[in-house]
Symmetry: C2
Subunit: 330 residues, 2 copies
């Protein structure tokens, strides 16, 4: 691919990103100081290589997924990190009163607003977290609330019904034993340890050790969530402002997917780089591009993702994500 062809591909991608409509040969004449026929010849060549496509036999060209890819990897230039957008982000990030996750969420919300794409934060709430404390708080004769706190300050709670044959006293006592023995245990090992450490231990002193363990199994069960992704959307529906979402079925399709928690959680990544997944190669929606990266701040890890049309302002998004990621990771 010659130099002019590269420039041409770049021009076509950028024009299409900006103007949404297929770009024809004539529109590029002045820019390249040559006739439309020349442009057409190059276009044909780029199409043969698979970088361009036509929507119908005599339309202008649009970039193929391969074309976008080439653009992202070889042609685009990251923007300078300046301007009011970045200023907004900095203001938030410098606010020391904000807990990290809140700051990240707010930043992603802003990025969503200035780009009109949908942003997602998948905070792996307590990846690698260990138990800091568990409390049992009796609510009435039939119910207690169990509250679990991790070493990073995440909290989960659950209401549990007290089985008829157990007394609150026994529960509280068992809870104390658990606190003594299990503090420092990674969350995902808690259930296991409950069975193989706690049960034998309380078997010595308590009659109803089976029932008690089963009760705590119950109480801990939903805390698994702490290990799961916590999903935050910044401007969930901003992507609908993109002109590609102009027909009912397309809108409903994307909304459906954004509401599908399982699908969204799939976006999670632990890739330290910012990766761009265009169309078919993301497993979210073949008509979109997903740009994502992980972050890791003092063991608090998660995923930042932006979902937009394939015709996305790649340079802008990558620049912003890059800035945010670097800033929070210092």
């Amino acid at each position: 691919m010659g130099e002019r062809q590269k420039k041409l591909l770049k021009a076509i991608v950028e024009s299409y990103i900006k103007n949404v409509k297929p770009v024809g040969s004539k529109s590029l004449c002045k820019k390249f100081n040559c006739s439309s026929a020349t442009i057409r010849n190059d276009m044909m060549y780029l199409e043969e290589l698979g970088y361009l496509e036509k929507t119908h036999t005599s339309s202008g060209r649009i970039p193929s997924e391969k074309g976008y890819h080439y653009y992202v990897e070889n042609l685009m230039k990251l923007k300078d990190i300046t301007g009011e957008d970045v200023l907004k982000l900095q203001t938030i990030l410098n606010n020391k009163d904000l807990v990290l996750s809140d700051a990240i969420n707010k930043c992603m919300e802003i990025i969503s607003d200035i780009t009109n794409y949908t942003s997602i934060v998948l905070g792996k709430n307590s990846y690698n977290n260990v138990l800091k404390q568990i409390s049992i708080i009796p609510i009435d004769e039939k119910k207690v609330v169990s509250v679990l706190v991790t070493n990073t300050g995440h909290v989960a709670n659950r209401q549990v019904i007290i089985p008829e044959d157990i007394s609150v006293k026994e529960i509280v006592k068992t809870c104390e034993i658990i606190n003594k023995s299990l503090v420092g245990t990674p969350l995902n090992e808690i259930l296991e340890k409950l069975e193989f450490v706690i049960k034998p231990e309380i078997a010595k002193t308590m009659q109803k050790y089976e029932e008690l363990c089963s009760f705590f199994y119950d109480a801990f069960y939903e805390f698994k969530d702490l290990n799961k992704d916590d999903v935050f959307f910044g401007g969930k529906t901003n992507i609908l402002k993109q002109p590609e979402y102009n027909e009912p079925e397309k809108i409903k399709e994307i909304i459906e997917k954004l509401e599908n928690v399982e699908l969204v959680k799939n976006i999670e990544t632990d890739d330290k780089e910012i990766k761009v997944y265009i169309g078919e190669e993301n497993n979210f929606d073949p008509d979109t591009t997903v740009i994502k990266t992980s972050y890791n701040v003092d063991g608090e890890v998660g995923t930042l993702a932006i979902i937009g049309p394939k015709r996305m302002e790649y340079d802008k998004v990558v620049t912003l994500l890059n800035f945010l990621k670097n800033y929070i990771e210092r």
Copy 2:
């Protein structure tokens, strides 16, 4: 309005609800054993009274908002509480392992699924709740987590940064005092009591009482949320399956509104009856009907709401809501 005219209005409303298209005079001939001209005469009369409308000069009639209203109040018959739908609800409601709010949410989800309308539960999390316990759990040198539990078992938590000039010890001690003095206090009075009860009390024994109170003010501040509505959607986008949502703008408009938390929270009601708000008279969206009612189960109160097109299966929705409300309130 004569007897036949009432029957006619009923037939028109029900036909339109079912078939979505304006109903013409001829389609009702057999049912009323008369000619289309007769029907037309009655239709004209009903239109004069404001119960019917035309979409254009020579279309069939559709019910006006006034017409729907008359239908709901005078014409429709509640369905029998039978069938598999109700069975599904009962199964959930009989599951004793489910906490009330979860059971309600699941039921509303089912109602949304069988009707294809959007259902909302606004659980006033802890209306009238009082403080049961507050704990301070140190996370590291700079952070603590405050955990607040209410008498109904609701939990709120918040990470707070420790001001430089206060020690964790002092915080924990103050916390104990708060627990002694403030347990039983309604949540919305906590901040007030912090100022006028706690501050004077700790002023006796602690030097930095000002700073400590300010710290706890901070720690409590977001717990106000507990007094706010907790929004749950059952099948948020089910309403999009209704044929009226067949153009991009309409879809985007309703999605926008459903994403607008403030607007949704406005739906809240404390009306014990099931009320139907058709079109302009609901302040959510003039093209929809909102059917809502409050529930109150042992002091746990909230709002159940269904949002659908004005052309809604009023009898079905009211019947289902009625069943659910009565069942949970025993």
